[in-house]
Amino acid sequence: MNGAEILLDCLKREGVEVIFGISGGAVLPIYDALNTQDHIWSILTRHEQGAAHMAEGYAKATGRIGVCLGTSGPGATNLVTGICDAMMDSVPILALTGQVPTPMIGKDAFQECDIFGITLPIVKHSRLVKNVRDLPGFVKELMYVCRTGRPGPVLLDVPRDVAQATCNDWEYPETFNLRGYNPCFPVDLSGLAAAARLMAEAERPLLYVGGGACHAEATEELVALAERLDAPCTTTLMGKGAFPDGHPLSVGAPGMHGTAYANWAMHQSDLLIALGVRFDDRVTGKLSEFAPNAKVIHVDIDPAELGKNRRPDVGLVCDVKTAVRELLKLVEPKCHKDWNALIAQWKREQPLRYSQANGHVRAQHALQVIAEVTGGDAIVTTDVGQHQMWAMQYYPCSRPRQFITSGGLGTMGFGFPAAIGAKVGCPDAEVWCISGDGSFQMNLQELATSMYYGIPVKIAIMNNASLGMVRQWQKMFYGKRYGGIDLAECPNFVKLAEAYGAVGIKVEQAGEVEGAVKLAHETNDRTVVIDFRCDPEEDVYPMIPSGTTVHDMRLQPD
């Protein structure tokens, strides 16, 4: 067998069923091996960035490792944004890159680039394999590191001569020695007891739940804990779905575009039970004035998160599911009638809302219709910008892995390829990509991939003919000096969809929204693009301007 065949055999043993990628000179041996086997589905994307985000979408939707592949040089650098995105959002993906033959490394060979060096700060772990004998061990190690502990991207750089080298007496190792990596920490019993004590004493507790809870799939435990403590629960953008949005104790998302009542609850809480979150600046605003009255219990699987931004009163290095299970053994039922009554009052006074005047199409309304038509059951991916915040606010989710978005890096162009990856991983699910006209254009070439392989998804473009979130900031903070935001109602998305063989629907009136969404919902043999022509003046509210506090929250347009 040669290195490429060994590589694929190892990946097969790791349960890999699909690779998203693009061929090229340095990966010819790998493609040759892919072409002569039938365990792994090789999906040819139209851009390597698409491949990386598909791997992410696949991983986020299934919990399994997503694999992407690019050739040396530009193929590898095109993966970089996806790798960094996966690092920021703790997504388990394996990036395979071709490399020039080992004797040519470091000599500026054609399509050579030091992708191992370029990605050092944005991978969880990586290896450049220089000897075919190292290949099985490297794959084993990388896949283990990728999926355990706090998951993250790993990269394997494979020079062409290594992929071609013959090796017949190899074995896939059962074990390996990674003495510098231990993702399993013993449960800290005294910490748990201290946490339970704080929970017993608290009068205004609040669960603050993030992406770690989605990864741990801890919904059942979280609901039990919230109900036991009679504590409201806020889920971050990354945590959306970990705690059902429809649960009476849910207060929606916190932070810059979170609900008013979630932010007020944060501010008045006397105990934040922070589960798999990282106190991101988009949640905390001005850190020194964030949740000033609260003690903090912080549970995270990554020790480096504890105390990074906010010093916890009790810090527990543990996955959310295990920690909450253990806590449930220690905490007694509580009743916080006044606290919940106060929150209910806030919910009545300042609900999420938007104007439905003048028959304009509103993204918020379109999202509510999509939620209705899909029964709130679709997998929703988003791009980045206003539509993303509206999707967070108006599409209720009920399970982890249902809401797939680019949170940390904020990568425009993420949503559509991620939807394709999610659909590959969950072929029976209905997958909607909520996008904007700016974001969609950053990876729309993957329409070809979705049509060629028959991976139908629904794309809802909230088209305001501009980079809406930037426009919103220019309107609010830069004296309406608009620039660098005009997308000029170009292209014609209906014709664009049709050019790829997809269905294109244009929606210009609020009354047309439901019909279009239903048509998309019922069209399952091809991808559907809906061009919702939205009002560019519509902004996302509430808003807490960057670096400020809950007191600076803007609830509606002036």
Partner: protein, 169 residues
């Protein structure tokens, strides 16, 4: 320069790492990203040939360095990290100092070298190379005293350190 505001203090950190490609860049990258200047960094083999030992001297505040230590621990090829602040250490570095030396000044230079128990390891008509081993302050001191003769060039290894006594790091 350190960007944080806490009390600045010099820290000696030992990092035991897998002897594998890229590990130095991964460790140095953690400092670089936070805008730290490393005062010195030495890398060498250890008692185990598969393990390299880095000794890093850096100035910073306690909390910031605590976070950096945690970041080191996240690197898969990092086996162990110790911040030796407050520990009883044997710390040594070597300096090679090429000093201008004429017939007139050579005697005085040799006296200084004797006092510091340093060595002259090379002599030419107009210069000598002084080798000094010791704690950083001692090396600083001999460097200062030799300054007036004219230092042509100088190299220091950076600090290496082990904890005193039986305890291993």
């Amino acid at each position: 320069m350190n960007s944080s505001s806490g009390a600045q203090k010099m820290h000696t950190i030992s990092v035991l790492v897998e002897n594998k490609p890229g590990v130095l860049a991964r460790v140095a990258g953690v400092f670089a990203r936070r805008g730290y200047n490393i005062e010195s960094l030495t890398v060498s083999i250890s008692e185990d040939p598969t393990v390299s030992r880095m000794t890093i001297v850096v100035t910073g505040d306690e909390a910031e360095l605590g976070q950096i230590t945690k970041q080191f621990n996240k690197i898969v090829d990092v086996i162990k990290v110790y911040d030796h602040t407050g520990e009883d250490l044997v710390e040594r570095e070597i300096a090679l100092i090429k000093v201008r030396a004429t017939a007139d000044t050579r005697g005085e230079i040799m006296q200084i070298v004797d006092i510091f128990r340093a060595n002259i390891v090379d002599v030419s008509a107009d210069s000598v190379i002084v080798e000094s081993t010791g704690g950083s302050r001692k090396v600083d001191a001999i460097e200062d005293l030799l300054q007036k003769f004219g230092i042509i060039e100088l190299v220091r290894t950076g600090r290496t350190a082990l904890v005193r006594g039986e305890k291993s790091t």
